[in-house]
Amino acid sequence: MIFNIGESFEESFIVSEEIYNGFIQIFKDTNPLHTNENFAIDKGFKGKVMHGNILNGFLSYFIGECLPTKNLIIHSQEIQYKNAVYLNDILLFKAEIIGVYESVKAVEFKFDFKNKFSKTVAKGKIQIGLFI
């Protein structure tokens, strides 16, 4: 097994205009919380709130591109959103292996995304399977 418990990984991501606009263009979620500055401020936020599922795109990138093997598949993932993410926020992503299950070739990570104020904006767990 090429993964070990306690091993950790870090990436940083920017919620850019391109990603935000692309997400809306593809998935058509134009809820005013995400698209109307005044609406979002009226609800207590600092501005338009980015779609939480943009972070799932970053997770997909991490699993698909940043691990030391491409022979894998996502089995499951869960994510909790803790604080709003805004346009152009830079997020620090950290993932740590918390379970290695040799018998079924599965690896479990816990992860979190933090903003520039070191505030956790989302956290969760993800389990992958290895094709070996």
Partner: protein, 80 residues
């Protein structure tokens, strides 16, 4: 652990993992008897059982199971 209690705990794990409150497993139950028990669910079941009892199986052990009873044997052989 008593066999009956072990089966009860395994049944709870099946209910949680398969997200089906109606699942009732017996010693003779096989994967084909439970609609949701497919290959991916099998992985989730094994992971959940390993976590719950703080044990580890080998792939050889898992491949040897023909039914739930054989799975229970394997768990008990690990001192549970």
């Amino acid at each position: 652990m008593e066999r009956k209690e072990l089966l009860k705990q395994i049944n709870s794990i099946f209910i949680d993992t398969l997200d089906n409150e109606d699942v009732v497993i017996e010693e003779e139950t096989m994967a084909n008897d439970v609609e949701e028990w497919d290959s991916l669910t099998h992985i989730q079941l094994v992971v959940a059982i390993e976590k719950h009892f703080k044990i580890r199986f080998t792939s050889k052990e898992i491949q040897s199971w023909g039914n739930v009873g054989e799975m229970l044997n394997c768990i008990q052989e690990k001192g549970i």
